[in-house]
């Protein structure tokens, strides 16, 4: 078998020598055509059905200055039509750009830490040791815990009279009462710690599976030729693991930029705006300040930004990956 990603498969008789689809005749009712359409049609229809109205309603609201507090329901928003004022405001809103930057900062730091920790721990688990099975299972548990619960546990954890401060007090031998979540930098650290805790196990699982599948004879040959551990890692392990690393990092990154639960439960974006990610920002604008038209404009801006980023971020996944193991 070849790569696992979209090698064009040519079976459809409409496809000519060049591999390009010939112009479809009106109502081309060949068996294969009907079959392939009926396979993808339900998904496409459901997707369009659910996306179409919300998308256009969002654009419509974003072009007005309507909010629920200005009277009338949203359908009457055309009375407050004001073209692109909201978009100008979004561009001028420092909090929006800060939230966007913060989101990528949290996602970047968290994913990098998850990757390094995951790889490191995976190396620890390469050889046999007593109780390996149990440690392995314990390592995977955080993934199974609902983020809403995890966020809550970490909120308790970082309280000034919580277990973390108690442990630090024990270690340094004097009372330590830092209110982690009330300080800009430490609140950020707390959020990242919670995120890393929840998702490092996934990285660990991926990396361990990759490491176990390494070709053993090549490793042995490298050892016999006198390669150091670092050389083996740099020139043998890393290139072989590369496709897996790319997939893991991209997938985690995609999920990390949507971070909401942890932040919402631990800090609500605070203190002030110190941990406000883009999802929290949207939540505040829409449900606390009730500026719906502004929120809609911000959402459309995010849609554009994310589409551009996604088309580059997902590119590594489109090229065929080498199989491992």
């Amino acid at each position: 078998m070849g790569g696992n990603v979209a090698v064009p498969v040519i079976q459809d008789e409409r496809i000519g020598e060049t591999g390009r689809v010939r112009r479809r005749r009106f109502l081309d009712m060949s068996d294969v055509r009907i079959f392939s359409t009926s396979l993808t049609a339900p998904a496409q229809f459901v997707l369009l059905f659910i996306i179409m109205f919300p998308l256009l309603a969002e654009v419509y609201i974003s072009l007005t200055s309507w909010t629920p507090t200005r009277g009338g329901d949203w359908t009457q928003a055309y009375r407050f039509w004001d073209w692109g004022r909201n978009y100008v405001e979004v561009f001028r809103d420092i909090a929006f750009w800060q939230a966007l930057g913060r989101t990528f900062l949290i996602a970047g730091v968290a994913v990098a830490l998850e990757f390094l920790l995951g790889l490191g721990i995976a190396f620890l688990f390469l050889e046999e040791f007593p109780g390996k099975r149990i440690f392995y299972t314990l390592m995977l548990v955080p993934m199974m815990i609902v983020p809403a619960v995890a966020g809550y546990v970490f909120w308790l954890f970082f309280q000034s009279n919580g277990p973390l401060n108690a442990i630090i007090s024990l270690l340094i031998g004097q009372p330590f009462t830092l209110t982690w979540l009330a300080n800009d930098v430490t609140a950020m650290i707390a959020v990242i710690v919670a995120e890393v805790w929840e998702w490092t196990p996934l990285m660990f699982l991926i990396m361990l599976s990759g490491l176990v599948g390494l070709p053993e004879d090549q490793m042995r040959a490298a050892t016999m030729l006198g390669a150091t551990a670092w050389q083996k890692f740099r020139y043998l392990v890393l290139p072989i693991l590369k496709p897996i690393i790319i997939i893991a990092v991209v997938i985690r990154g995609m999920e990390a930029v949507k971070i909401f639960d942890m932040v919402y439960l631990m800090t609500q974006g605070g203190p002030a705006q110190a941990t406000e990610t883009i999802s929290i920002y949207m939540y505040k604008v829409a449900f606390q300040q009730v500026r719906w038209s502004f929120a809609a404009a911000a959402a459309m801006t995010i849609l554009v930004i994310m589409t551009i980023i996604a088309s580059y971020a997902l590119r590594p996944l489109q090229t065929p990956q080498r199989e491992i193991g």
Partner: protein, 352 residues
């Protein structure tokens, strides 16, 4: 393999214990808190109990049995309705996503000629065209006052889908490249924070009277998670040689027969791991359930968030107990399909 020196093994072992200990401690804290009586979990006294001194089941009792007027913000007096809601909604959403996602994945695996490498300016250009065409209709529908009702939204949506298909065809004539493959646009959807689109979805859902119903939530969960199903299942289908489909068809099976009786049974391991992954996603969702449910169908995370008592504030113990109960379904599901776990959780990145 040569033997690793003893000191190295000792250091490695110590490291394993420290690291795993650090990763287990929050879990340990939650588990022990679930069994602590009120004096021990309440932080008011400033004493920290590392191990529950008088283990008790009273927290589970508090959460699971009816409580008269104790809970302050919780709309339900016991967690049982939210557990039922979580189970129904997560399983329903998973089945829905599996149904439409698996069909699409098979279609993309066998018939797609689109490699899915869609430049962003084409995607956004197509979107802009669509908006340009449909916005006047949106205003018209609003002016007529029918967009407020379900039939207004329905007619508008049908018009929109027709316009989208038309624009796709037109673009296909002008731009000689992929103009929007399902596979790629599906994946792009995953990066988009659901928070951003949730207001109009709420508007639409309330027009269709879908707010706070299990089927309303199932529909959203299905749509939010089916990109994963498509991607994962496609990687499984790609591995099954297409000669098998052809052989079945030569033997007299129909297209559907070849798919349902030959290919799908071969991919059932993949289906199981995909199901687990999607189930975990649905099970742990907080945001969507928070905004689309109110009284009748809050899921476990939503109920947890509202679990506050009028007397002593946040209910740490009962919350931990419910959190512990919420771990059970994914773990049981995970153990059942252990063999396929890695593949599913790694998004098909690892082929074993």
């Amino acid at each position: 393999m040569q033997k690793t020196p003893t000191w190295q093994r000792v250091v490695r072992y110590a490291l394993v214990i420290i690291v795993v200990g650090m990763f287990t401690f929050p879990t340990y804290w939650m588990v022990t808190m679930a069994f602590k009586p009120k004096v021990e979990w309440s932080t008011a006294h400033g004493t920290i109990y590392w191990v529950p001194k008088n283990p008790t089941l009273e927290n589970f009792d508090t959460v699971l049995t009816e409580y008269r007027g104790q809970f302050f913000r919780a709309n339900q007096s016991s967690a049982l309705p939210s557990i039922r809601s979580s189970i129904i909604v997560s399983i329903g959403g998973t089945l829905f996503a599996l149904l439409i996602g698996t069909l699409a994945a098979y279609g993309l695996s066998r018939f797609s000629v689109d490699t899915g490498d869609l430049p962003w300016y084409v995607a956004l250009g197509r979107l802009a065209l669509l908006i340009l065409v449909l916005l006047p209709f949106m205003v018209l529908w609003a002016w007529l006052g029918i967009i407020r009702y379900w039939y207004g939204i329905l007619t508008f949506t049908i018009l929109g889908i027709a316009a989208d298909q038309l624009i796709g065809r037109l673009l296909g004539r002008i731009y000689r490249g992929p103009t929007g493959s399902l596979a790629f646009s599906i994946l792009q959807l995953r990066m988009f924070p659901p928070m951003a689109i949730v207001i109009p979805v709420m508007i639409m859902w309330s027009a269709f009277k879908l707010i706070d119903t299990w089927y309303g939530l199932v529909a959203v969960y299905g749509v939010v998670t089916f990109p994963f199903v498509v991607w994962l299942m496609k990687s499984f289908f790609d591995e099954i040689p297409r000669e098998l489909d052809e052989a079945a068809i030569v033997d007299g099976a129909s297209n559907w027969g070849a798919f349902l009786k030959v290919v799908l049974p071969l991919a059932k391991g993949g289906l199981a791991s995909t199901a687990l992954f999607v189930f975990i996603l649905n099970w742990s969702d907080f945001l969507i359930a928070l905004l689309l449910t109110t009284r009748d169908w809050p899921t476990i995370p939503v109920f947890l968030n509202s679990l506050v008592s009028s007397e002593i504030g946040a209910q740490h113990g009962p919350k931990a107990a419910l959190g512990l109960l919420a771990v059970i379904p994914p773990v049981v599901f995970g153990i059942l399909i252990q063999r396929y776990l890695v593949r599913g959780l790694t998004f098909g990145a690892i082929k074993r």
